[in-house]
C-alpha cells in the first residue's frame, strides 16, 4: 500500500520523467533527496562507464556479414545482418543518455555501404600499412587526401620519418556511419611515396571518423575485438557500469510510480516482520 505521506502527483508522468532523466520523476514529486541520490548515483555510474570504455560501451545492435568480412567495408548491395545487443536491454533504462543508440541504429541501417568515391577532403591522423608486391611497412602520421592525390607525413616503427605527395587511382572508404572512431581507408595503385627505396603501391589503414558518425552506433565483432585489445578488462567493467546504472534506474522508475518497496522507513522493527498466523486470523 502506498504511503499517504508521499505526494505522487501524476504517477505515470513521474515514471516517464524518471525514465528520461534519473531522479527527474522524484524531483517532480517533490522528493528532492531521492532525486539527488538517483541522479548523482545513476548518471555518475553511467558516465563513469562511458569514460572507462572510451565512450563506446553503448550500442543497440551487433552487425554481422554473411561472408565474415569486415562489416565496415561491405558494399551497399550486401547489407549486414544485425542482432540486438542484450546489454542494451539494460542500458536503455538510463533514459535520454542511452536513447541516441536507437537513432544511430536507424542511421546505420540506412547508411549504405562502403564508398569508392571521395566525397570530401580528408585531413586526419593516419595509422596503417604501406605495401608493395613483396613488403609491408607499418606507418603512423598524418594524411591529406583530395582529388586523385594527397600528402602523407609519417614515421615507420624503426623511426624513419618521411613526408611527400602521392597520387592514387582508386580509393575505398569504410561506411560513413559505423561504431568505431576510426574509418577504414584503402588506396590502390599508389605512386609518389619513397621510403629509402621502398615505393609502396597500396595504402591500407584508418583515419578519424566524426563523433556523430560513431557514437552509440552498431558495430561488428572486429570492432569489439579491437576494443578488448585496446582496453582489455576495462571495457568489460565499463559495460557492467552502464548495465547496472540502467537496472538501478529501472528500480528508481518503479519507486517514482509506486513508492518505496518496504515502506516509509519510520516503522518500528516489528512492523517489518510477517504477522503471526494468529494475528492474520485476528485481522
Amino acid at each position: 500500500m502506498r504511503d499517504p505521506r508521499i505526494n505522487f502527483r501524476s504517477r505515470e508522468l513521474a515514471a516517464v520523467l524518471a525514465f528520461l532523466i534519473p531522479g527527474a520523476g522524484h524531483y517532480y514529486q517533490g522528493r528532492r533527496v531521492k532525486a539527488g541520490i538517483f541522479f548523482s548515483g545513476i548518471v555518475t555510474l553511467f558516465f563513469a562507464g562511458m569514460v572507462l570504455g572510451h565512450w563506446q560501451p553503448v550500442y543497440s545492435q551487433t552487425a554481422f556479414s554473411a561472408d565474415r568480412s569486415l562489416v565496415e567495408m561491405l558494399p551497399a548491395e550486401k547489407p549486414p545482418t544485425t542482432r540486438f545487443s542484450i546489454g542494451y536491454g539494460a542500458q536503455v533504462f538510463n533514459g535520454l543518455v542511452a536513447l541516441p543508440a536507437l537513432i544511430q541504429q536507424a542511421r546505420f541501417s540506412a547508411g549504405g555501404g562502403n564508398s569508392k568515391v571521395l566525397q570530401e577532403e580528408i585531413d586526419s591522423d593516419f595509422i596503417g600499412v604501406l605495401r608493395d608486391n613483396s613488403q609491408a611497412v607499418p606507418v603512423s602520421g598524418r594524411i591529406t587526401v583530395r582529388g586523385d592525390g594527397g600528402t602523407l607525413t609519417g614515421v615507420t616503427p624503426d623511426g624513419f620519418e618521411f613526408s611527400g605527395e602521392f597520387r592514387y587511382v582508386s580509393i575505398r572508404l569504410g561506411r560513413e556511419v559505423y561504431g568505431s572512431p576510426r574509418k577504414a581507408i584503402a588506396l590502390s595503385q599508389l605512386s609518389g611515396i619513397d621510403i629509402e627505396g621502398f615505393r609502396p603501391t597500396n595504402l591500407n589503414g584508418s583515419v578519424e571518423r566524426s563523433f556523430l558518425n560513431w557514437y552509440q552506433v552498431p558495430r561488428d565483432n572486429a570492432e569489439l575485438d579491437r576494443l578488448h585489445v585496446t582496453l582489455s578488462h576495462q571495457f568489460d567493467i565499463a559495460c557492467v557500469f552502464t548495465w547496472i546504472a540502467g537496472l538501478l534506474n529501472l528500480m528508481a522508475i518503479w519507486d517514482a510510480y509506486d513508492g518505496p518497496a518496504y515502506g516509509y522507513g519510520d516503522e518500528s522493527p516489528d512492523d517489518d516482520e510477517e504477522p503471526e498466523s494468529g494475528d492474520r486470523e485476528a485481522d
Binding site: I6, F38, F241, M251, Y262, G265
Partner: protein, 58 residues
C-alpha cells in the same frame, strides 16, 4: 595507470547500496543507515571471496 579491477567494485558497491536502499525506504536517515550496512556487508563479502580465491589459487 593500471588500476586493479577489484578497485572498481568499491564505487560500484557504494552506488548500488545507496540507490537500491533508496528504492526500499523514503526516510533519509533510514536510507543512510541501511545503505551503509549494505555497503559494509558487500565489501566484507567481496574481501572474503577474494581471500578465498587467493587462498585456493596459491
Amino acid at each position: 595507470m593500471n588500476v586493479p579491477s577489484l578497485v572498481y567494485a568499491i564505487p560500484l558497491a557504494a552506488v548500488i547500496s545507496v540507490v537500491y536502499t533508496s528504492t526500499r525506504f523514503e526516510l533519509t536517515s533510514r536510507i543512510i543507515e541501511r545503505s551503509a550496512i549494505m555497503f559494509a556487508k558487500t565489501v566484507v563479502g567481496l574481501v572474503a571471496l577474494y581471500a578465498l580465491l587467493a587462498w585456493l589459487s596459491a
